[in-house]
Amino acid sequence: MGVMGKDAVQDDFPSFALPVDTEHKATIMRPWYFARPHMPAFHLSWLAFFAAFVSTFAPAALLPVIRDNIDLTKTDLGNAGIAAVCGAIAARVAMGNFVDTYGPRFGIGLCIGLTAPAVYCIALCTNAAGFIISRLFIGFSLATFVACQFWCTSMFNTKVVGTANALAAGWGNMGGGFTHFLMPLVFDGIKASSSPAFQAWRWAFFVPASFQVLLTICIMAFTQDMPDGNYAALKKSSAMRKSSAWGTWKAAITNYRTWVMTLTYGYCFGVELTVDNVLPQYMYDNFHLDLHIAGLLAAIFGMMNLFSRPSGGYISDLVARKWGMRGRLWAMWIIQSLGGLFCLLLGLTSGSLGATMAILVIFSIFCQQSCGLSFGIVPFISKRSTGLVSGFVGSGGNVGGAVTQALFFTYLPISTAQGFLWMGVMTMGITLLYLTMYFPMWGGCFAAAKEGVSEEDYYLAEWTPEERAEGLHSASIKFAYESRSQRGWVKQAALNESKEAAAAGAINDSVKSINV
C-alpha cells in the first residue's frame, strides 16, 4: 500500500497504509505505528504541544532561583504565571481561525518556530517586567494545542477521534510535568560546569528553545495537513473549497455549546495550568524540600498525563459506543466533578506530604481525564468551524487558568492550600453547566433525542442554501454520515428495530393490497 505525496491530490482510489473511512481518516489509532500520512502528523503534533508545555512551564520549575536573581515578589510571580496563560487566550482563537484557512501544519510550524526566540530571550531578562513579558510571549506557544487537536480530528475517524485527541493532548500536556523534572537537572548540570546559579538557569533555557526549533524543521519537512494532501494543493484542485469566513465564525459563536465547553474546559485544563504553575513552589516552601525533590514531586502531576488524559479520551469513546453522545456528557460531568472534589481535598492536606501526594495523584487523574473527555465532545459541536470551536474551547482553558491563578493564588489574601480548596469548590459549580448540553439528534444528560432529527439536519444547518447549492457543504455530509456512531448502539439498535418493523409492515400492506 502506498502513500500519497504531500502536494498530490487524492485520486478516486487512494491507498493508505492504515484502514480509512470515506473522508480518508484513519479508523484505527495505534500510537506505535508511524505510517504516513496519519501517524507522523499525530506524533509531531503531540511533540510540538509537548515542547510548548515544556517551554511555558520551565520558568516555574526554576522559580526558587529566578526569583532571587531578578528580585521578584509574590505579586510579580503571580502576574508572570497569569501572563504565561493569558498569552495563549487570543492566540488560541486566532489559531482556530488560522488552521481553518491555512491548515494545521503551518499553524503548528509557525507557532513553535516564532515563539522559540522568546524562550531563548528569557535568558536575558533582568527585572520583573522583562520576565513577565517573556512569559507572555512564550505562552503564545500554547496555541499549538488547537492546531494539534484540529490535525488529529482531520486525520482520525469519529470512532477513534476522542482517543486520538486525548493521546495527543495528554502526551503534550505531559510537558508541564516533564519540565519540572528536566529543568532542575539541566540547571544542575550547567552549574556543575562552574557556572554561577544566576547564569546557569539562563543557559538552561537553551534546551527547550532548541527542541522547538528542531521540531519546526521536522514538521515543515515531513508532514501534510490532511490525508489527501496540503491545504494549498487541495484548494488549488478545488478538492477543498473556500467558504465565507463570516459564515465559519457565525457557526461557531452562535452555537451555545461552544460557550458551555469554553467555560467548563477552563475548569479542567485551566485548573491543570494553574496547578502546574504553583505546585513546585508550594512543595518547596510548604514542605521545606530542596529544589530537586520539589520538582520531582511536582512533576508527577503533569506526568500523569501519560495515561490519564488519553484514558479520558478512551472512556469517552468507550461510553459513546453504547450510549452515544449522552454517555460522553454524563462521563464528562461525573469525572470533572470528581476532579473538583479532589482539588478541594488537596487544600485540606497541607500538613502531610504523604496525604498531599496521594490526593494529588487522584486529583491529577480526574482533572486530566476530564480534559481528554472534553475533546471527545468538541469535534461534534460543529463541522464547518471545527478549528474555531477548538480555538475557543482551548482558549477557555487558558482563561480558566488565568482566572484561577489570579483569584486563588495571587490577589486574594489566602494561603496556597486554601486556594486549592476554593478552586475545587468553583470547579464543581461550573461543571454543572454540562447538564445543559443538548444535541437534537442525540439528546443530552436528561433529555432524549428529538424524533425525526438527523445528523445531516444538524450539520447542514451551518450552511446557507446558496452555499449548499455551490456544494461547499460536501465535507459536512460525509462527517454527518460518519458521526452516526454517536447515537450509541443502544439507540441504533432501537432505530434498526423500528426500521425493520416499518419495512415488514410495508411488505405486509403491499401483500394485502395485492390479495385484495
Binding site: 526569583r67 518556530g113 531563548y120 535568558a123 533582568t126 554561577p196 547564569q199 526549533v213 514531586l297
Partner: protein, 235 residues
C-alpha cells in the same frame, strides 16, 4: 494493568523517599521569644571590603533600611571577591544561656531585613528558629571555645546572594539531653545593616548566543515560505 500497577508502586516509593529526605530535625524547637531573656550579650560589628576600591568601609548604623537608603551603600557585589568581616565579641567574660545549658557551637548568619522580605513569603521570618526562612546564609559555624570571647570571619559574598539589605544574627547551640537546641541569640536589627547586589548574570557570550540561536527558527521559516512561494509561482 501491569503498567499502571508498577507506576503506582513507583509513585508510592517516591513519596516514601520524599518523606524520608524531607527535613528531619535533630534539634529541639526553640523560639526567639524564649531566648529573649538572654539576648544582648554579643557586640556584633560589620566591616566590608570592596575589591575594586581596595578600601574597607564600615556600614553605617541605621534602623529599618531600604535598599536605596544611604545606610546600605556601597553595595557589596555577590562575586565571591567583595568581603564582609563579621566580628562577634562577648561583652562579658562568660556566656549566659537559657536554662543554664552548656553552649557548644556558635553560628553566625546573614538574615533578610524586613523591606527585603516584604511580599516574599519564601523569606518570611518565624519566631520558631528552625522554621525561620529569613536567614538563608551561614557566615560562620564553629565550636565554641571557652577561652575565646571573640569570633571573627572575612566572608566572601557568595555568587548566589540576592540583591537585598541584610543584618547579622549570632545563634548559640547547646546540648539539651540527647538533642541540640538554640540557647542564646543576638542580632544587629535596628543597628547595622549591609547591602548586596547580584553578579552580572548576562555575560556578553550569553547575549551573542541568544541572538544567534533566536534567529534560526524565524530564518528557517522565512526561507521555507520563500522557497514554497517561488515553487508555486513556477507551477
Amino acid at each position: 494493568m501491569a503498567r499502571c500497577l508498577s507506576l503506582a508502586v513507583a509513585l508510592v516509593a517516591l513519596v516514601g523517599y520524599a518523606a524520608a529526605t524531607g527535613n528531619i530535625e535533630d534539634q529541639q524547637p526553640t523560639s526567639y521569644t524564649q531566648l529573649a531573656p538572654v539576648k544582648g550579650q554579643w557586640d556584633i560589628t560589620l566591616k566590608a571590603t570592596k575589591t575594586a576600591d581596595k578600601a574597607a568601609f564600615e556600614p553605617v548604623d541605621c534602623a529599618e533600611p531600604k535598599i536605596s537608603a544611604a545606610c546600605n551603600k556601597p553595595l557589596l557585589t555577590a562575586d565571591a571577591k567583595d568581603k564582609l568581616q563579621v566580628t562577634a565579641a562577648l561583652k562579658g567574660k562568660t556566656l549566659k544561656t537559657i536554662d543554664d545549658l552548656t553552649p557548644k557551637r556558635v553560628v553566625i548568619k546573614a538574615c533578610y531585613s524586613k523591606p527585603s522580605a516584604t511580599d516574599r513569603p519564601w523569606r518570611k521570618s518565624n519566631d520558631v528558629i528552625d522554621k525561620d526562612k529569613s536567614c538563608p546564609f551561614v557566615i560562620k559555624s564553629t565550636e565554641l571555645n571557652v577561652s575565646s570571647t571573640s569570633y571573627s570571619i572575612d566572608w566572601p559574598i557568595p555568587k548566589n546572594m540576592t540583591k537585598a539589605a541584610w543584618y547579622a544574627t549570632v545563634l548559640v547551640l547547646c546540648e539539651n539531653g540527647t538533642l541540640n537546641s538554640y540557647c542564646q541569640f543576638d542580632n544587629t536589627v535596628n543597628k547595622t545593616y549591609f547591602g548586596t547586589n547580584i553578579i552580572n548574570s548576562t555575560p556578553t557570550s550569553m547575549i551573542i548566543a541568544t541572538a544567534v540561536c533566536a534567529s534560526i527558527g524565524p530564518l528557517f521559516l522565512a526561507s521555507y515560505f520563500i522557497k514554497d512561494f517561488m515553487g508555486r509561482k513556477k507551477q
